[in-house]
């Protein structure tokens, strides 16, 4: 037998619960969540940071969990889709996705919802984006901003139009106003 691969201990919190794991150092945060902790809600679409299905919140910031090794997260607080809400008690974003049918096959959905929750916070926090007219001013809570910031989360079923409506509802943005404010993508609803 060849030498065993190096293992390393890591402790972090997932959805508020402490986890102490001994992991092959090659294990991604995504695979640690799925195969070692058993939280299958976070999805593996590409394993290369190209699709966004594995999006989780680490210390409140969204990341692609497939691009991050688990052992890099000592002491971190990870929130996954299971931590946002349950079927009995949906997070407002989850409820809005159901209401607006912001998904079809459902495979990208946990990542979309984690991203959507984070995006609204990012806009509120004034983090600039590519579609902002003036990065010196606060970004608007608008559909073009949301669409731009969500563009790392691919939905091949094509639920984008409905996801935008779900996010607008949670953000308290009136759709008609938002459509009117679209800069380059178009003027009409």
């Amino acid at each position: 037998m060849a030498q065993q691969p190096p293992a390393m201990a890591v402790t972090f919190k997932v959805n508020g619960k402490a986890q102490a794991l001994m992991l092959d150092t090659r294990t991604t945060l995504l695979d640690a969540l799925r195969d070692h902790i058993g939280l299958m809600g976070t999805k593996k679409g590409c394993d290369h940071g190209q699709c966004g299905a594995c999006t989780v919140l680490v210390n409140g910031t969204r990341i692609n969990s497939c691009l991050s090794l688990a052992v890099m997260h000592e002491g971190d607080a990870v929130t996954t889709i299971e931590g946002l809400g349950t079927p009995e008690q949906l997070h407002p974003m989850q409820a809005a996705f159901v209401k607006h049918d912001g998904f079809q096959c459902g495979y990208c959905t946990p990542g979309q919802i984690c991203s959507a929750v984070a995006v609204l916070e990012e806009i509120r926090a004034g983090i600039p984006s590519h579609v902002q007219g003036d990065v010196g001013t606060a970004p608007e809570m608008s559909l073009p901003e949301m669409r731009e910031r969500m563009s790392g989360n691919i939905c091949r079923c094509g639920a984008y139009s409905n996801i935008a409506e779900a996010m607008a509802e949670v953000a308290g943005v009136r759709i008609a106003e938002t459509h009117g404010a679209q800069s380059d993508a178009g003027a009409e609803a």
Partner: protein, 732 residues
């Protein structure tokens, strides 16, 4: 139950539940991460091992040697299975290339081995240590080069001739004769191929991700030379398919081989970079379209020829399908030619045939309308037909294409479009509008279901039907609820299990109508049983509000199962109404684009689809099908293309970074309108499909809008800016 005469009035017509925009019954599971997909099931016998598939590094040739010595010594490795040591495998009837290659390699990334280890990381690492020596053979990878040798086909794909096409085209006062190309495309569903497989003696069980459970069971049995009853396939949630998961694929075969080798369940998710060459794809086409018309805009000659390629033994992309049926015209020709190519296997992707066919035909129609000086909506309306033009004795069961076009034009503000291209500007943006017809046939498939009425009044539906995001769970619950007079909450739906009655499955936009018809048939039987159990006349019993009423008697439905569960199983079979009547779905797509006059960047600003597809079972999930298809259509028009390496024979951009699909920022708000229809010739549900209709024609509507914006006609998809940037109008 056999459907062989047009449907009369039936309980579905009540439309208390059917036709309502019910939220998905599986919505809470999917949005909270609780819906288990293939790789995620915990209900397996024992601790699973992990498999990692190795794909061939050549497109054609042989494996000269496979050295697994180093890999076998690596930590955690349990087994390495290749053609060298695998049991002899049969081949399913629906696969063109073998799912386990070697020593002969038929295409790039054909699976040639699986490494099984205690962990995913160990399996992946050991797979990288397997050394394979290849003898590269000469392959054919260029459709243009192979086109002259392409062969005609028989059966449904045979040439069709009506009237005198050559004569009518030659003498037509107005002609269009153009060639269009569409590229190879990939389904790129979000969930990769994935399977957990295990053996119990000589019985094989899989959790997998597959659209067609009964086919999958049959093909697994054929591959492993088992009687079908020894195979159990389960696929309750499927992370997208679009035709890519119609067939048995390498993940299931390699997981089963690995499980046999190590005596444990083996789980495999195919790595994304392997997916695009290992999987099937929609093949590229070269399409020549010739149209002849009178000066007042009547089509007199319609000719459509299409060339595509596939591996030896494969099939064509039937891109001429819609041209047989979409427009009137006395003189017609369609022809498919198939070349042999050694690229990965070609097969069905959402709306096979019509999707690329309409991308070409509906540009040609736009070109003809322009030559005639006619509005493209009016030109299409003028050439509508209510009968099958090749067989005028066959009427359409229902055809409201004209209403789709006219109502769409009205809603979209089509009258604001400038007939002359490159006239509308908003600052730096060139604005254009485009229209295209949508057309896709309705197909009915045999579909069975079992329904159970329990003593608590809950009805459970069991069928091997799949929900690939289409909403099957929801519309089946609605069907059973309507039939039994219950609210949706009183119905449980169990899908995707080969131990349940075999359904239509999900494909060809046949799923919704066929599978709900199977449930209708089973519920009709259950109604009779319930009425009899209550001592009521089955013929006059009415089911509503959880009660059964006949004459002056009334009882709770649950009462019927008080003495024990009632179970009814029935199969919906189809007579010859599909032969007597052409059953199709129709639509009109309207698109507005803005093209940056400086950079050539194209943005889709508005999209509208008006669809005529029979009764809409759930307007919420049906609308989602259509907007999703419209999104895929934007991809096909503007970005999607598998880039062929013609020297080495593979798709270069084989991951989700290289194969570009639409993202949030590419897609505007989308509008969908369904005409209020019920087609009594198609089924007791009076419904047809929408999942593929929504894609049909979108690409051409985008292309026509880009032309209207810029005056540059691109006939080579996708319409990427290098094809038109140099030709854009001069910047003032």
């Amino acid at each position: 139950m056999k459907f062989d005469t047009p449907a009369g009035t039936n309980p579905i017509d009540t439309m208390k539940v059917i036709g309502q925009a019910v939220d998905r019954v599986d919505g809470k599971l999917k949005t909270t991460g609780q819906a288990p997909y293939a790789y995620e099931h915990g209900e397996i016998p024992g601790k699973p091992a992990y498999g990692y598939i190795i794909g061939a590094a050549i497109a054609k040739g042989r494996i000269a040697a496979m050295n697994t010595a180093e890999a076998k010594r690596m930590p955690g490795v349990l087994a390495i299975v290749s053609a060298e040591n695998a049991q002899p495998l049969g081949k399913g009837s629906m696969n063109t290339a073998k799912l386990l290659g070697g020593p002969v390699v038929e295409h790039y990334h054909q699976a040639v081995a699986v490494v099984v280890a205690e962990s995913f990381e160990q399996a992946r690492s050991a797979a990288n240590a397997v050394r394979i020596e290849y003898e590269r053979g000469a392959g054919r990878f260029d459709l243009v080069k192979e086109k002259p040798g392409a062969q005609p086909l028989t059966g449904n794909d045979a040439d069709t001739h009506t009237g005198d096409f050559a004569g009518a085209f030659a003498s037509a006062p107005v002609q269009v004769d153009q060639t269009y190309t569409t590229p190879d495309q990939n389904h790129a569903m979000m969930e990769p191929f994935a399977t957990i497989a295990w053996w119990d003696a000589d019985a094989l069980s899989v959790w997998t991700s597959n659209q067609m459970i009964a086919w999958n069971k049959r093909e697994l049995a054929a591959t492993f030379k088992l009687p079908p009853e020894k195979v159990h396939v389960r696929s309750p949630f499927i992370g997208g398919g679009f035709g890519g998961k119609l067939f048995l694929r390498a993940d299931a075969v390699m997981a089963a081989l690995g499980a046999k080798a190590c005596g444990r369940p083996v789980k495999i998710a195919m790595p994304r970079p392997l997916m695009l060459n290992n999987a099937t794809h929609r093949p590229a086409t070269i399409q020549r379209i010739r149209l002849g018309a009178t000066r007042d805009g009547k089509l007199t000659a319609i000719g459509h020829e299409s060339w595509s390629g596939d591996l030896p033994g494969g099939g064509p992309e039937s891109a001429t399908q819609q041209t047989k049926l979409l427009y009137a015209g006395a003189n017609r020709l369609t022809a498919l030619r198939l070349a042999e190519l050694d690229l990965p296997e070609a097969n069905a992707m959402r709306a096979p045939g019509e999707a690329p066919g309409l991308m070409a035909l509906e540009i040609a129609i736009d070109e003809m309308a322009e030559k005639l000086g006619m509005d493209p909506v009016k030109f299409r309306v003028l050439n509508d037909t209510q009968v099958d033009p090749e067989h005028p004795e066959r009427p359409f069961s229902q055809r409201n294409l004209v209403r789709c076009l006219e109502e769409g034009a009205d809603r979209f503000g089509w009258n604001r479009r400038s007939a002359k291209p490159a006239q509308m500007r908003e600052g730096r943006w060139l604005i254009g509008m485009g229209v295209a017809a949508a057309f896709r046939n309705n197909i009915n498939m045999t579909s069975a279901a079992r329904v159970r009425l329990a003593g608590d009044g809950v009805v459970t539906v069991e069928t091997d039907m799949t929900d690939i995001g289409t909403g099957s769970y929801t519309i089946i619950a609605q069907t059973a609820a309507e039939m039994m007079g219950l609210p949706v909450e009183k119905v449980r739906v169990k899908l995707g299990d080969s131990s349940f009655p075999a359904s239509a499955g999900s494909g060809g936009q046949w799923g919704a109508n066929s599978a709900t018809s199977g449930v209708y048939a089973a519920c009709a039987k259950l109604r009779d049983m319930a009425a009899q159990s209550l001592g009521m006349d089955p013929a006059s019993a009415e089911f509503s509000d959880g009660r059964v009423r006949a004459g002056n008697r009334s009882a709770a439905l649950a009462e019927a199962a008080k003495a024990g569960e009632l179970v009814a199983e029935e199969t919906m079979q189809w007579g010859d109404l599909g032969k007597k009547f052409q059953q199709s779905t129709f639509g009109a797509h309207f698109v507005e684009v803005a093209v940056d006059s400086y950079t050539g960047e194209t943005r889709v600003r508005r999209m509208l689809a008006v669809c005529a597809a029979g009764r809409i079972l759930n307007p919420k999930t049906a609308r989602s099908q259509v907007i999703g298809a419209m999104t895929m259509g934007v991809g096909g028009a503007l970005m999607e293309e598998l880039a062929v390496d013609k020297r080495f024979g593979f798709f270069v951009n084989h991951d989700l970074a290289g194969y570009e699909v639409p993202v949030h920022a590419d897609i505007p708000h989308q509008d969908v309108v369904f005409l209020d229809e019920a087609d009594d010739k198609v089924s007791p549900m009076k419904a047809k499909g929408v999942g593929e209709l929504g894609l049909c024609g979108v690409g051409a509507a985008v292309a026509n809008a880009v032309y209207n914006a810029t005056g540059v006609r691109v006939r080579d998809y996708p319409i990427t800016l290098h094809k038109y940037l140099a030709k854009l109008p001069a910047i003032a």
